[in-house]
Structures are given as structure tokens and as C-alpha cells.
């Protein structure tokens, strides 16, 4: 039997393929270049496969330090952000106090101007406080970028927990703290998890401010990229980019599994 040829279907498949190539192309390029010795025009095939670039990254003390700094600073930033912002988010989501809306809008101020201006102003402050080039200085700079996520998203999550569910728990014999722990917090958890992922990524990817106040003593992975692009073979940058992308991909994968597939999808179906 002759196979039926449908030009429209072929055109559609082709355009989907091209779109995917456009989106994924740079990642493919990175993926290939991280494992080949050299692959330049006019050669059709790479000249050879190697793990050389990976060992170079892991043996280079500057790069290793940057990776370590990033993996230490970002979790600290997220935890600090949670400690500072979650109580505020709970208050903003549950209590109706005077100036609540103004407060929440003001939080956007750090995000509503060109950041470099803000960072320059902070830098002058840092000089007088001796925070330039310090670990704490970088943590504070990165903290700024997480505040929006860690207040607005959990505030909405806390606000969406119906009061009668808390009342039912009180009626069942739970005191206020137990109600918060077993009902309110549990039901707001998907929103808090999203905020944690977003905050981690915001901190992990932050380069501008971290470079300004951290260099030349504290380098994180994104700020190290600046010197990397200029001073190392292109394949090392490819390896480093892949390393930089791993936490994002892992976190988004986890978020998809636990938030979209979990309670958020299941939970809010009853009236």
C-alpha cells in the first residue's frame, strides 16, 4: 500500500523541528563542545572526543572556588530570605493591617529601577561599612533579588488557605500553633516551594551586583563567567555553562513533580 503523503503535515513537523532547534540549539552546541577537542568550520566532524575540559574545570582552583562559593552562598541567601520574608508574607497574606498594600508594592522598588544604579549606590554604602569584597556583602546583594519572590508568592499562598479549614482543626482540638503547622503551612507549602525555587535561581544566577561588590575577592559561578569567556578556551566556558544550568534544571524538575503533580493539582477541588 502506498503511503499517503501530506504536505501540510510535513510542513508542520518541519516547523516544529526548526523551532525546537532554535530553542535547544545553543544548549546542544554547549553539550557537544563540552566533550570535543575542537570542532570548527570547515571540519565536518570534531577532531576528537575528550573529558579534558571537565578535568580542567575541576582542577582549576579559581573555578573550583567559584563553584564552591555559589553552592554555599545561594542556600544561605535562600534560608535568610525565608527567615526574613516568610513571617512578613504570612502577615501580609492573613492580617489586614494599615498600609499593607503600600508595603507590598514598595517591595517592588528594588526591581523597578535599572539595577546597576541601585548597586552603585549600595557600593558606596559598602565602602563605608567595609562590606566591599566580603562574603556577607555578596549575600546581602543577592538577598535583595529574592525578596519579591519570597514575599509575594507565599503571601498569596497563605491568603488562599480557607479560614474554615483552620477552624475545623481548632474544633478538632488543635491549638493555634498546631493548626498553623499541620494545616496552614502544609497548604501554603506549594507556594512556598515555588518561592524557594525562584529565590534560589535568582540568587544563583545573580552576576551584576555580585561582581560589583564581590570582585576581585569573592567570585561566584556567574561572575566567574566574565573572566572565563576571555581567558579560557571556549570549551571550558561550555563545561561551566552546563554546570551553571544543572541546579536550575534539577530544581525545575523537582518543582514540576512535587508542585504541579502533587497537592496543587489535587487539593483545591472541593468547594
Amino acid at each position: 500500500m502506498r503511503r499517503y503523503f501530506n504536505p501540510a503535515k510535513v510542513a508542520l513537523n518541519l516547523s516544529v523541528f526548526l523551532l525546537a532547534l532554535f530553542i535547544l540549539g545553543p544548549i546542544l552546541w554547549l553539550g557537544v563542545h563540552a566533550f570535543v577537542t575542537d570542532w570548527k568550520y570547515p571540519h565536518l566532524y570534531p577532531s576528537g572526543l575528550t573529558l579534558n575540559w571537565w578535568s580542567k574545570v575541576f582542577l582549576d582552583s579559581a573555578l573550583k572556588t567559584a563553584i564552591r562559593n555559589s553552592l554555599i552562598i545561594s542556600p544561605i541567601v535562600v534560608v535568610l530570605s525565608m527567615v526574613i520574608c516568610l513571617p512578613a508574607a504570612y502577615a501580609a497574606g492573613r492580617k489586614n493591617y494599615w498600609g499593607r498594600k503600600t508595603f507590598m508594592i514598595t517591595l517592588f522598588s528594588a526591581n523597578s529601577f535599572p539595577k546597576i544604579g541601585l548597586f552603585a549606590a549600595i557600593a558606596t554604602l559598602y565602602y563605608t561599612l567595609n562590606l566591599m569584597g566580603t562574603f556577607l556583602g555578596v549575600v546581602i546583594i543577592q538577598l535583595l533579588g529574592t525578596i519579591i519572590y519570597m514575599t509575594w508568592i507565599p503571601a498569596a499562598a497563605f491568603a488562599s488557605v480557607p479560614r474554615y479549614l483552620e477552624e475545623a482543626a481548632r474544633d478538632a482540638g488543635a491549638n493555634k500553633f498546631t493548626v498553623f503547622r499541620t494545616i496552614t503551612l502544609r497548604m501554603a507549602m506549594p507556594g512556598i516551594l515555588v518561592a524557594i525555587v525562584m529565590s534560589f535561581l535568582a540568587s544563583f544566577d545573580e552576576a551584576q551586583g555580585s561582581y560589583l561588590v564581590g570582585a576581585p575577592t569573592i567570585y561566584t559561578m556567574p561572575t566567574e563567567m566574565y573572566s572565563l569567556v576571555q581567558n579560557y578556551p571556549i570549551q571550558v566556558a561550555a563545561v561551566f555553562s552546563i554546570l551553571l544550568a544543572i541546579p536550575s534544571v534539577l530544581l525545575l524538575g523537582l518543582a514540576r513533580k512535587h508542585i504541579m503533580g502533587g497537592q496543587l493539582a489535587e487539593g483545591f477541588q472541593i468547594k
Partner: protein, 337 residues
């Protein structure tokens, strides 16, 4: 002896609640005997939900006392009160399975795992939901959700069970069945129960006694027959069932002008084609079939009467004799014997 028994149930004394500067409940008294099932019935805004929330402990009264099983619980929070509530929207926790929902009160109490499992099994068995043990509340029907909420309340072995509009979220068919199930369960367990409802049929058919409420006060607290046959106030008479209401006095079977209010139930009008003692002629204006009876509207020279009949059914335009068999007389809103 009766007083002692009553004190073992639920006792509200001089309750008062002001919310947002408005007096919601004013000096409310209510005694519910142990094992009795009563309803708080009234239109929205009459204070019945506020009263229920004061019994449950979500609201602390501004004055008065709440006594449950002989113990003054007025200043206790809901977690310390020996009452359990079934919420109007059931309030099941969506992140827990059915059995986790039911187990929650026992877990809070700190009971052992095995004991909890046994009691949960028993409670779910009581409401016929063992097969949904591991389902999430969002996956089961409204009627089943309500049974879970009931099981969660009963597992606490409360001295008073509170039901807030228990049938309002169910469809009409299911409503009757659930009503009977609740009643049967309540009788079997002998548990003191307070229901809040705006549906008089629901209140009259399920309760031992009904408290009819109006603007923060109890107008009458009686058994269903009493409420219907001897409504203590004009408000109760018009609120419960159908009523022909006339401003005037009843003299020798006729309405004449006067200062009283006369109420006549439609089934207390006797229609006949032949003249009778105390019956007066009127013209039939409307005949409406109502299933097992007919509603007949008759214009008499002293007023328009609505009668329920299933024996003698006149035709529209026909003249019939109407006799008032029984009437209720009110002065300043109160029943005069």
C-alpha cells in the same frame, strides 16, 4: 429531676454578642436536654450561626454563659470545648486522605497508632465510607464528603454535636436520605445535637424541638407540632407553614375590623356547596393542583382566603360556603388564647 437532666445537655444563659457595633444576639436562653436534637431555625441574619459559633467557641459571648454537660465552657477556645462541628462546606483538609482527616482529632489528643486506626475504622464504618479510606476529599462526592466530616466530628465523642446547614450543599434527592441517616445515627448514639438551618421543612422533620429565631431572639422553642398548631408569636405563625393573615377581629365566623391579627391555616377552612352553620358564601377565584391536595382561593365579602382541600374541589367561578374551623388570634404579635 428534669432540670438535672437538662443541665447535662447544653445550657445557654443570657447570651449576648455584639459584632461590628451591631447587637447580633440579645439575652438568649436555651436549654437542650441530653440526647436531644434541636434546630435553630430562622432567616439569614437572625443570629443562628452566631449562636452556633458561640457554642462551638469560635466566638466568645460578650455576656452570658455556655454550659455543656454541667461544665461552664464560656471562656474556652474551640479546641478545649467538648463540642464537635460539621461545617457547612464540610471543611475537610484537602492535603489529607479521608482516614487522615478522621484520625486528626485523635492524633492531636496523642492517642496511640493502633488505637487511632481502630477508632477510624469504626467511625468510617459508622458512615459507610470504609471503601474511601485512602481517597482524597476532592475525589469523593459532596454527600460522601459530608459523611467524612460527620465521622471526624463523631470520633471526638463530643458532648454536643453541631451541624451548620448540614443539607444545604446537597441536591434535593440526597437531602432527604442524609437527613434520615443523620437522625438515625443521632438517635442510636444518643448524642445531644444542635442544627442550624434556614429550611423549615428540614428543621421540622429532623428535630425533637425547634427554636425559631428572629433578629437575635428566640421567638419560640417547641416541638414541631406545637410550632405549627400553636405558634406563640405572629412571626412564628407566618414563618412556619402557610397562613391566611387578616388584620381585624373574628366575630361569629367573619372577619370584622379591629385591632387584632387573625391567622388561619389553609387546612382549617372547610369548603362546602351546602350552607352550614358559621359558613359564608364566597366566589372561587383560583384552583391550583398541588399533588395530594388542591389550593383554592376564595373571595368572601370579608376577605380573600386560601384553602387546602382534597375532598370537595370546586370549579373556578363557582360559589361555595367557607367555614373557619380554627383560628389564631394575636395581639401585639403575641398569641392570645
Amino acid at each position: 429531676m428534669k432540670n438535672v437532666e437538662e443541665n447535662m445537655g447544653l445550657e445557654l444563659r443570657g447570651l449576648k454578642k455584639i459584632l461590628g457595633g451591631r447587637v447580633i444576639i440579645e439575652n438568649l436562653d436555651l436549654s437542650v436536654a441530653k440526647g436531644e436534637m434541636i434546630s435553630l431555625l430562622g432567616p439569614s441574619g437572625c443570629g443562628k450561626t452566631t449562636t452556633l459559633r458561640m457554642i462551638a467557641g469560635f466566638l466568645i459571648p460578650d455576656a452570658g454563659t455556655v454550659t455543656v454537660a454541667g461544665r461552664d465552657v464560656t471562656n474556652f477556645g474551640p479546641e478545649k470545648r467538648p463540642s464537635a462541628m460539621v461545617f457547612q462546606n464540610y471543611a475537610l483538609w484537602p492535603h489529607m486522605t479521608v482516614s487522615k482527616n478522621v484520625a486528626y482529632p485523635l492524633k492531636i489528643k496523642g492517642l496511640g497508632k493502633i488505637e487511632i486506626a481502630e477508632k477510624v475504622e469504626a467511625a468510617l464504618g459508622l458512615v459507610n465510607l470504609l471503601h474511601h479510606k485512602d481517597s482524597r476529599p476532592g475525589r469523593i462526592s459532596g454527600g460522601e464528603q459530608q459523611r467524612v466530616a460527620l465521622a471526624r466530628a463523631l470520633i471526638q465523642e463530643p458532648d454536643v454535636l453541631l451541624l451548620d446547614e448540614p443539607l444545604s450543599n446537597l441536591d434535593a434527592k440526597l437531602r432527604e436520605k442524609v437527613r434520615e441517616d443523620i437522625r438515625e445515627l443521632q438517635r442510636r448514639l444518643g448524642i445531644t445535637t444542635v442544627i442550624v438551618t434556614h429550611d423549615q421543612e428540614e428543621a421540622l422533620s429532623i428535630s425533637d424541638r425547634v427554636a425559631v429565631m428572629n433578629s437575635g431572639k428566640i421567638e419560640q422553642f417547641s416541638n414541631p407540632q406545637d410550632l405549627y398548631r400553636h405558634p406563640a408569636t405572629e412571626y412564628v405563625a407566618t414563618f412556619i407553614g402557610a397562613l391566611n393573615r387578616f388584620e381585624g377581629n373574628l366575630v361569629e365566623g367573619r372577619i370584622v375590623s379591629g385591632s387584632d391579627v387573625i391567622g388561619i391555616r389553609p387546612e382549617d377552612l372547610i369548603l362546602s356547596s351546602q350552607p352550614k352553620d358559621g359558613a359564608f358564601l364566597g366566589a372561587v377565584e383560583l384552583v391550583i393542583p398541588r399533588g395530594h391536595f388542591f389550593e383554592v382561593v376564595i373571595r368572601r365579602e370579608d376577605g380573600i382566603f386560601k384553602a387546602f382541600t382534597n375532598e370537595f374541589i370546586p370549579a373556578v367561578g363557582e360559589n361555595v360556603f367557607v367555614k373557619i374551623k380554627k383560628s389564631l388570634r394575636y395581639q401585639n404579635g403575641k398569641l392570645v388564647a
